[in-house]
Structure formats: structure tokens, C-alpha cells
């Protein structure tokens, strides 16, 4: 990009980064506004992540990388994680840079809270973006003004730390500085209420779903990855994407594939189980059976979660966690756990390794249409809840 006249754009001391290319997101979005929001976020990410990785944080990664469409359809902002910290990019096309507007979701949802918030001005026409400054969660909570109409925390530009270098230098010289303020957990959302909300907000005619119901309800719905995904799908008019039976019959949905699900054929193996199964003592896998599989990274190593129907049982399934590499094992203390859709425990819903072990598994009987959420402790990298439907 060149200019015919000297442009004052290039004279200030903010950091400018080149926008690699403007790409329209491939996914569907519920309004032109949310589609544009996705474009801006994707663009900001494409420029900032490589810069961050090359100059300050080689390990920087996108947070919830598989679920960005469902995030952007609901709210502005993209989070990046590095060195155990979270940083939210907040792109805007506004040129005046007089305030940073942070959606409440990034400030008040316990699982979304970040350490840093970056004000990013995107000029699509000229192909650059500018880092206008940053703040921390702690400062945001103390200094920002809450706008109830938009549910945003707005920080006046005079309170923004304009020089992005302050972030890196403070990290280095004063790592003990408090970055986050406390936030309260939201009340749990019972299944019936969640279903009502999904029905109501899943209607794409509701243009501003995040402002439609009280924040506590909206926040609890959004924080649950499986429900947020369902909300996104409903708003795009998509049919059920998470039915395990359907995946077996007609292939895994595109959305689930993006999140890492695939199908594979199990090789027959010898029964290892001296241990008693926590639940059903019934059938073992048949030889050459098909299984659903999802790759996971836990504590830096690769594992996979297998989901397969139990032989002879109409509606009984086995969830199994195992390492990918033959020499890898599951350390003592790890747990594989199943929960109901609204995150309630049930009898025999988990398996914990009492010693180093080759696999963890839970077998469970399900009602038709029932949803299950799986989790592993310690949490897999970039873990987001998913609802598998049976």
C-alpha cells in the first residue's frame, strides 16, 4: 500500500500491523452485522497472532479455535492464550479511538475472563490495523463505565495504556502484578430453562440475542460450549449436528469435524480388563467395529476420546480415553467423567486412574434424545464443553 501524499497515519507511535488478506468467513452467520464482526475478528487475528508468536510469545494460540463462529455470531472479541495468560482482541472500525468497549461476556463470565484486553482499530480500506492500547481485567473492573444498553464495559481512552510495550516490560519486571479481579460464578441453568432459551433465542428473527434476556441467563447459556454451539446452529437454521447415531449412519457433521471428531475402525484387541467396569458389565467391543474419535491434547501429550455403541445393547455407549502413542500411559489421578446436558453428575459416571493405566472408560445407558457432556480432568488443551446427542 502506498500513499500519494504523506499520511499522518504513519507518524504516531502506535504499533501498525499489515492485514494479510481480507477473507470472508466461510461459516454462516445470523445477520450481516455478525458476519462483518466475524470478518473483522478473523482479520485482526490473522495479523496479530503471527506478530505475537514471532516477537513475544511463540506458544500463543487461539482460544476455542474450533468454536470461533459460534463466538463471533454472539459477541465481539477473540481470545488468545499464551504462557497461561489470556488476551482478548477487540477489533473495531471506529477511527476516533476514544474508548475501548468490552462486551460483558469477556469480563463477567468466569470461564471467559481474560488478563489483557487489546483495543484494535482495523482499517480494511487501507489494509492495516493499529493497536490503540490495552488494559487489564483488574483495571477494567475498577475504571470502566458499564453501559447497560449494550452490556459493555467502556474504558475511556485516557485510561488505556497506549504503549503495548508496557505489557511486555511489566510482565518481565513485575510478574507478580495482579491482573484479574474476582468475578462471581453464575447460577446454574437447569435443562428445561436452557431449552426454553434456546428455542427463543435460536430464532434468527431475534436480532440481538445477547440483549434479549437477563445477563445471568444469557451468560450461563453462552458459557456452556454445547449450548452455545446449539444456539449458533439454530440461528443458522441447521438441523441437529451432534447426534452420535447420525454420525454413524451418515457421517460426522462438518461442524463436529472442525472440532476434531472423526470416525475410524478399531482393530480387534485382546480384552485387557482385569478391572471391573464402573457401569454396565455387558458387551465388549466387537472386532472391526466402528468408533467415533476425537483427538485431545492433555498435559502436552496426545490422547483420544473414543465413543462407540456397546454390542447387543440398544442404547448403551462406551466412552474411552486412551493415549495415541503406544508407549504413552494415563497418569494416576486422571478422571474421565460424563455429565448430563445441564452438567449434573449421575451414578457411575466417572472413571479415575488410581495408578498409571492404559485407558479410562465409562459405559452408560442413555434415553433416546438424551444429551451427554464429557470431560477429562486435567482439562484438555482448549477444552470447551460439547453435548453429544444419543
Amino acid at each position: 500500500m502506498t500513499f500519494d501524499v504523506p499520511s499522518p497515519t504513519w507518524l504516531d507511535t502506535h504499533l501498525y500491523l499489515e492485514i494479510p488478506e481480507i477473507r470472508e468467513p466461510e461459516a454462516a452467520f445470523s445477520t450481516p452485522g455478525s458476519r462483518w464482526r466475524a470478518t473483522l475478528n478473523q482479520t485482526a487475528l490473522a495479523a496479530i497472532l503471527p506478530w505475537l508468536q514471532s516477537e513475544y510469545a511463540p506458544t500463543a494460540k487461539v482460544w476455542r479455535s474450533g468454536a470461533l463462529s459460534s463466538l463471533w455470531d454472539a459477541v465481539n472479541g477473540t481470545a488468545i492464550t499464551f504462557d497461561g495468560l489470556r488476551l482478548v482482541l477487540l477489533p473495531t472500525t471506529a477511527i476516533e479511538a476514544d474508548e475501548l468497549r468490552v462486551p460483558q461476556e469477556w469480563v463477567d463470565l468466569p470461564s471467559w475472563v481474560a488478563d489483557y484486553y487489546l483495543a484494535v482499530q482495523v482499517n480494511i480500506d487501507e489494509g492495516w490495523l493499529r493497536i490503540d492500547g490495552y488494559t487489564t481485567h483488574q483495571r477494567l473492573k475498577a475504571q470502566a463505565r458499564y453501559d447497560a444498553d449494550d452490556r459493555t464495559y467502556n474504558l475511556d481512552a485516557t485510561h488505556l495504556i497506549q504503549d503495548i510495550n508496557v505489557l511486555w516490560v511489566t510482565r518481565e519486571l513485575c510478574p507478580e502484578e495482579t491482573l484479574r479481579a474476582d468475578v462471581a460464578t453464575l447460577p446454574a441453568l437447569p435443562l428445561a430453562q436452557a431449552e426454553n432459551l434456546l428455542k427463543r433465542l435460536g430464532n434468527p428473527a431475534v436480532t440481538f440475542p445477547r440483549l434479549e434476556v437477563p445477563f445471568q441467563l444469557w451468560g450461563a447459556l453462552l458459557e456452556h460450549g454445547g449450548w452455545r454451539q446449539r444456539l449458533y446452529e439454530l440461528r443458522q437454521g441447521l438441523p441437529e449436528q451432534w447426534s452420535a447415531q447420525q454420525w454413524f449412519q451418515s457421517g460426522i457433521s462438518h461442524l463436529a469435524q472442525q472440532l476434531g471428531w472423526s470416525q475410524m475402525t478399531l482393530q480387534p484387541i485382546a480384552v485387557t480388563g482385569m478391572r471391573s467396569a464402573p457401569s454396565l458389565e455387558s458387551g465388549w467391543r466387537k472386532s472391526q467395529s466402528q468408533t467415533l474419535v476425537r483427538g485431545l491434547t492433555i498435559a502436552g501429550a496426545d490422547y483420544e476420546l473414543l465413543v462407540l455403541p456397546l454390542e447387543g445393547e440398544v442404547s448403551a455407549w462406551r466412552f474411552e480415553l486412551r493415549p495415541v502413542a503406544a508407549e504413552q500411559m494415563i497418569p494416576a489421578g486422571w478422571t474421565l467423567r460424563l455429565l448430563t446436558e445441564d452438567l449434573q453428575a449421575f451414578p457411575n459416571n466417572e472413571d479415575t486412574a488410581t495408578e498409571t493405566i492404559s485407558e479410562l472408560y465409562v459405559e452408560v445407558a442413555v434415553e433416546p434424545g438424551e444429551g451427554l457432556v464429557w470431560e477429562v480432568n486435567p482439562l484438555p488443551e482448549d477444552y470447551d464443553r460439547e453435548v453429544l446427542r444419543f
Partner: protein
């Protein structure tokens, strides 16, 4: 522009423009009285920069109205530096905005200077002001160029809610009207956007179907989002509102002259100020220990930064010289150094990080302060001012 004579004048008069040319100095009698009184209390003759630091201290440590009074004195003091910055940048960048406009824009943000200046590490308020004004004027110029180039519809995508509300209030709309216009703008933004092929700047008027959708959304949302009951609006009205909004935003870029900062209600208060605190501050400022300590620190800082810069690669030194000394644009620098334009920004940021780290370590080790973000942020401003002054040796006449 006639130059100001004497300390009283420097701290109590404001520049008036005749069209785009600097005219005469207008005195504020209250500020005159206040300054005269201070000079009477001072046992020895002090320089203008001494008084600038004194007023900054008053501003920092005292409550209203003393702090307001101090801000007004500093605003008077910074008139010339702001004028020269506006004049220089207007010439360099063939600005559409007049020098008077740029001057007013920058002066309106004089609080940034009051807030950002750190007397602990710098004795040069004027130098710091030059640096901040220069950034403010450039920023204002950049924004007005962008606004001039945009269609009304594009412009509505290039502004934030705060600016819009400010513009509508400035245009004289009532609170209720502002809320309705802002809602109309939100509906517009949600339903009509640029895309990969449709440039923001060239965004054209929405088609009738889109207007229908915007009106439908507005009419549904007004029930829940507007505090005051508001009637249903046809698409034509919303179109009119949005055009009015765009116009109000354009108008906002051409600021009205500022009334000298000491306003009416303040006048009486100033005349009856219990002067005890100010007197003790003055006595303190005149005492030499503090000044000597500061001088030592500032000298250390200069030595440290000079040494650090000398240890940098020659290319890095050239880059700093070109950017801070010659005030070249990054694109000119890129051409000169044979690197890509975006690399200039990244390299400058990296260089500043090196220098800022050095300063932070020095503060931690020498001044025994904990290098929190507040402290490092302050250091960042000190660094910018130092670089600007060091390389430019002041371009002021």
C-alpha cells in the same frame, strides 16, 4: 504573532485567531491577579519553566478550584507551543483543516498533558507538551482525512457510540432524541455492512428492502431499548436520522474555540482562595533539595538512555534519528532504509521496548519503585518525550 512579555502575561493570556491567522493575546483578569500575587510572594525571580512546574504541582496535589486555576495557568503557558505545532504540521501535511482548527483541537485535550507529564523524570513541561500536541494534531488530521473520504454510510461504520452521542448532543438533540438516533444507528450497523467487495469508504445507500428491514428492527427494538415511549418510525425517517448523525459527526471535527479555562463561577472562588496551601507549595518548590534530586535523576536517565542508544546497531540508531529527529513518515523511512513500511512500525516498537526495559530496570534498582504497569506506563511517556527532545533539540522558534 507578537511574543508575550513577562511572566504574568505568559501565564494569563490566550491566543485569539483572526480567521486562520494568529491575532492578539487576550488577557484573563483573574489569572492575571493570581499570577501577580504569586510573584509578589516569591522571594526571588524564577523562570517560566519553574512556574510551569509549580502550577503542575498545584494541579496534581490540590482540589478544585485551585486545581482548575492551575490548569488554566498551564493552558495559557502552552499557547505558543501548541500554535507552532499546529502550524508546522498543517504545512507539512497540506492539511484541509486550518491552523486555528488544529490548534483548538489540540488545546481541547490539554488535560492529557497535565495527566501524562511526570515531573519526577522531566523538568521540561513544554517539551512534553510539544510531543503530546504533535501526536494529537496528527491524530486529528488523520481522522479528518478519513472522514472526508468516506460516504455518509461508510462514515456510520467508522465511528463508535461515544463519538456519535457526543456529536448528536453537540448538534443540540435532546436526550430522548439521542437515544432514538443511537438505536437507529445500531439497527443500521447490524443489518447493513461493508464486506470483502464493498469498501467501507465507498459504502452506498442501502436499498429499499434493507431500509424496510432496518425500520422493522428499530420499531421492534424501541419498545425494549428506549426508556421513553417513542412512536413507530417509517424507513424515510430513519434514513433522515442517519444522515443527520453523519453530518453531526463531520461537524464535530471542527471544534469551537475554547473559552479561556477559568470560567465565571471559578472567578470569585479564586479571588477568595485561602492561600495557605499554595504558599507552602511555593516555599517547597523554591527549596533546592528537591530540585537537585530531580536534576540528578534526570541526568542519570539521560546518561542511561544515551548509552543504551549508543550500544544499538547503527541501523537502529538511524531509524530513531529519522523518526524522532527528522519527523519523517514511516513510509519515507521505509524507502530510505529499503525496508517495508510495516517493518518500520514493528522495529520502532521493538527498539522502544529495549529502551523501556532499560528504564524500568533502572527505576527498580535506583529508585526502588515496584515496576507496576502504572510506573512503566509513566516511563513510556518519559521515554517518548525524551526521544523527541533528544533528537529534535526543539524545532520551536
Amino acid at each position: 504573532m507578537p511574543s508575550r512579555q513577562g511572566l504574568v502575561e505568559i501565564f494569563s493570556t490566550f491566543l485569539q485567531f483572526n480567521a486562520d491567522r494568529p491575532g492578539r493575546w487576550i488577557a484573563d483578569p483573574r489569572l492575571q491577579r493570581s499570577m501577580q500575587r504569586c510573584l509578589e510572594q516569591s522571594p526571588q525571580t524564577e523562570s517560566a519553566s519553574f512556574w510551569a512546574l509549580y502550577w503542575h504541582k498545584v494541579w496534581q496535589t490540590q482540589e478544585v478550584p485551585s486545581s482548575q486555576l492551575a490548569a488554566a495557568h498551564i493552558t495559557a503557558y502552552l499557547q505558543e507551543v501548541c500554535y507552532w505545532v499546529a502550524q508546522r504540521i498543517s504545512t507539512n501535511f497540506a492539511s484541509q483543516q486550518s491552523v486555528a482548527d488544529l490548534f483548538q483541537t489540540a488545546m481541547a485535550k490539554v488535560h492529557r498533558i497535565l495527566q501524562g507529564f511526570n515531573p519526577q523524570y522531566s523538568a521540561n513541561l513544554k517539551g512534553y507538551a510539544e510531543f503530546v500536541f504533535s501526536n494529537l494534531v496528527k491524530e486529528s488530521l488523520r481522522q479528518s482525512q478519513e472522514v472526508d473520504i468516506c460516504t455518509d454510510w461508510g462514515l456510520l461504520h467508522k465511528l463508535g457510540k461515544k463519538r456519535l452521542v457526543e456529536a448528536l448532543q453537540n448538534a443540540g438533540l435532546s436526550e430522548k432524541e439521542v437515544a432514538a438516533y443511537v438505536l437507529a444507528w445500531k439497527c443500521f450497523q447490524e443489518l447493513y455492512t461493508p464486506d470483502a467487495t464493498r469498501k467501507t469508504r465507498k459504502l452506498s445507500k442501502p436499498d429499499p428492502a434493507t431500509w424496510q428491514a432496518i425500520a422493522k428492527l428499530y420499531n421492534a427494538q424501541r419498545l425494549s431499548q428506549l426508556a421513553a415511549p417513542s412512536p413507530e418510525m417509517p424507513p424515510e425517517t430513519l434514513e433522515k436520522w442517519l444522515l443527520t448523525s453523519a453530518k453531526a459527526v463531520r461537524n464535530l471535527l471542527y471544534p469551537k474555540p475554547i473559552v479561556p479555562a477559568a470560567d465565571q463561577e471559578m472567578g470569585d472562588l479564586i479571588d477568595n482562595l485561602p492561600n495557605v496551601q499554595q504558599e507552602s507549595l511555593l516555599a517547597e518548590a523554591i527549596r533546592q533539595e528537591e530540585a537537585t534530586l530531580r536534576q540528578t535523576q534526570q541526568q542519570q536517565l539521560t546518561e542511561l538512555l544515551t548509552a543504551t542508544i549508543a550500544s544499538l546497531e547503527p541501523e537502529a540508531q538511524t531509524l530513531l534519528q529519522a523518526y524522532y529527529g527528522a519527523e519523517q513518515t514511516q513510509q519515507q523511512i521505509a524507502k530510505q532504509l529499503g525496508i517495508q513500511q510495516f517493518h518500520v512500525s514493528r522495529r520502532l516498537t521493538r527498539l522502544r521496548k529495549t529502551l523501556l526495559t532499560t528504564l524500568g530496570q533502572w527505576a527498580k534498582a535506583t529508585l526502588h519503585v515496584s515496576p507496576t504497569s502504572d510506573v512503566i506506563e509513566g516511563m513510556s511517556a518519559v521515554l517518548e518525550e525524551w526521544l523527541a527532545t533528544h533528537y529534535r533539540h526543539s524545532t520551536l522558534p
